[in-house]
Symmetry: C2
Subunit: 390 residues, 2 copies
């Protein structure tokens, strides 16, 4: 037993600045791996008001390293919410009109149970004793949260990247509970290249001796160097080659000539190092392992005998699939495959591929075409749903 | 002073199984960084026979982690030479006809002076005291080797990837010494994304505590974990998304179902881990830092007032530029930029973009179209050069 003073996990793990619901021993979550997770917590934020008919709820699903702070200042970083371009008063996901919910995913580190949370069996952080979670486990936990909030049917489920995978899983697992769905910059399965990049990130974390086979919190250590390398590698995949060239090119960092050394001569190096360092201050290394693994296991077609169309067969959910032309992480072709499956399954779907050079992260950026797409789609669905017009 | 028993560098560093020329104190190399490197060694292989006119010499330039063993078994790994599809008796670069030379680059770890070599000033390995080297430094060193061999003019300079950069630099620095040139799967400058991936690799190496600020050989340690992560990340860039999908897809590694763990469930994970592990047995970590940095500094246009065409102005060298359609590391557009500059500079050039889904590493693979292109180009140049016909 280790009696070293513990380096504490970030305060949001055990005492989140969010609403929290704890599902007790009577409400276990049986995971895809066949483990009963119990008790467990979900930390979440809400914006706006649920109407009397309970028909105006929108669930926003966050991406890999996102969190529930979609439209409020982040309690750890102090920065604005991560999707304020889309969500807020008067925004396409209008919090004056809709009741918006965003919960931290299972396996996360912002208050929902994850590997940094205390394992009730031992009193120590779970670390790798946390059961593996899948996208479906995340969605099943969210469904329990919706039950808790008394929301039978979501007006819409919206999310980008790993958030988009949750949208697709919601539509497949709970078609009657999803009136409309907007999967953005995502894929119905992780490709070999997607898995490869995630594996590099995990190996970078696990190569850090401060990772301590996952027990770094018990040991009062922090695998920040490995996690920073993982983040740097991942960050390249979030931007297009053209965007990097336009933004940084070969520009030098505050110097007139190269130093002929391993200093960050180039702005792109400085930028990446900064991305790595700022990430490790806010994210748990084991959580990174868990959420990347959840994505890797995601393959919606495989869950339906290899036919993606069967995942959406007879679905009445209205879909709006959005991709970005320069996204090479989850490319337009991956969204097109989703659209084909929805068409084959007979589900109503519109598809917008937004022309941009900004790569995968375009979905997080204030883009007029994306905003107009989301606004138009939600407006049309609101009319069909009989929500009061603006 | 460290008196620990030294973990020796690989035996090829100090006692290469190659020809070696040492340039003494009277023949220093003044590097781009303004340092006099002296003495220094170049280790090289040759194949075939130099003709009486000394007009049939082909210099092959190797890529980032390649070496001089282009067409013979590698003394470290026992594997066949790295370009036996192109170079050998009866092959496009026909060693029955041409005198083929390949030298280990400056900064390498196979016998040419690099960071694992003994610093004559201290008797210890150079480590980071090795002066930074550039692509031009590598080429200047090769030019000294050509002088040593009595070769005034090369019939052809051939190379892919970083080897292609050397080809371009040869043509720019020594136009009169290069009768023909074949830059393959390369670029005239490192893009922001190229630098970004290299920087991730370097940070992975330097994050490894066994790197010891570069002094791992003195300390008897080996930053293998960091170097393996660097190699894994780089390896993804050598293959196309389509090739990965075709070769590995989401296939599981010798198991019927996922383990819901961090084991290498997927074949692609197993493959990448193997790539990382086998690399660290043969390559020096500091050498990896140096050669990646040399690529990052490469920008042939910048050396000519920002105009690439000026690098080739009035060149009489005959060029054959080859790219591969699915290469996203040095994409077809980068080769096209070279071709445009050659056209603008008035140099004779042919350009072949080979349709393949195999990505950057396609240049190392036995490809009928690439072989035919190389054979045809060399045949035409041989006729112009007045070499005896086959």
């Amino acid at each position: 037993m280790n009696m070293m003073p513990s380096r504490t996990a970030n305060r949001e793990v055990e005492a989140p600045s969010s609403l929290v619901v704890e599902f007790g021993r009577d409400r276990p979550l049986v995971t895809d791996a066949g483990v009963e997770l119990s008790p467990f917590c979900i930390a979440y934020q809400t914006y706006g008001r649920l109407n009397a008919e309970r028909s105006n709820a929108i669930l926003v699903c966050h991406a890999l390293t996102g969190d529930q702070h979609v439209a409020n200042a982040n309690p750890l970083t102090g920065k604005p919410g991560w999707w304020t371009s889309l969500v807020g008063p008067g925004k396409p996901v209008d919090t004056d009109r809709f009741f918006v919910i965003c919960s931290n995913v299972l396996g996360g580190c912002m208050g929902t149970t994850g590997p940094a949370s205390r394992d009730p069996a031992t009193g120590r952080p779970y670390a790798l004793d946390m059961p593996m979670v899948t996208i479906r486990d995340m969605v099943n936990a969210q469904a329990m949260l919706m039950d808790h909030l008394g929301i039978a049917t979501l007006f819409c489920v919206v999310g980008g990247s790993m958030g988009g995978m949750q949208v697709l899983q919601w539509a497949a697992s709970y078609p009657a509970r999803v009136f409309s769905a907007m999967p953005v910059a995502t894929a119905a399965r992780h490709s070999s290249q997607n898995i490869a990049f995630h594996e590099v990130g995990r190996q970078a974390v696990m190569a850090d001796p401060d990772w301590c086979k996952g027990r770094y919190l018990d040991e009062g250590r922090h695998p920040g160097k490995g996690l920073a390398v993982a983040r740097m590698a991942a960050h390249i995949t979030y931007l297009s080659e053209q965007a990097l060239q336009r933004k940084f090119g070969r520009k030098l960092q505050e110097r007139a000539a190269p130093t002929f050394s391993f200093d960050a001569d180039f702005q792109i190096e400085n930028y990446l190092r900064h991305q790595g360092l700022s990430f490790v201050d806010r994210f748990d290394a084991n959580s990174y392992l868990y959420v990347t693994r959840a994505c890797d296991y995601f393959d919606l077609a495989a869950d339906h005998g290899g036919q993606l169309a069967l995942a959406f067969k007879g679905s009445k959910t209205r879909f709006c699939v959005v991709s970005f032309s320069s996204d090479w992480l989850y490319p337009t072709s991956a969204s097109r495959a989703i659209v084909h499956a929805l068409n084959a399954g007979g589900a109503p779907v519109s598809f917008v591929d937004i022309e941009t050079d900004r790569g995968h992260d375009a979905f997080l950026i204030d883009d007029p075409e994306f905003n107009a797409t989301a606004r138009g789609f939600l407006e049309g669905c609101a009319r069909m749903r009989g929500l009061p017009q603006e």
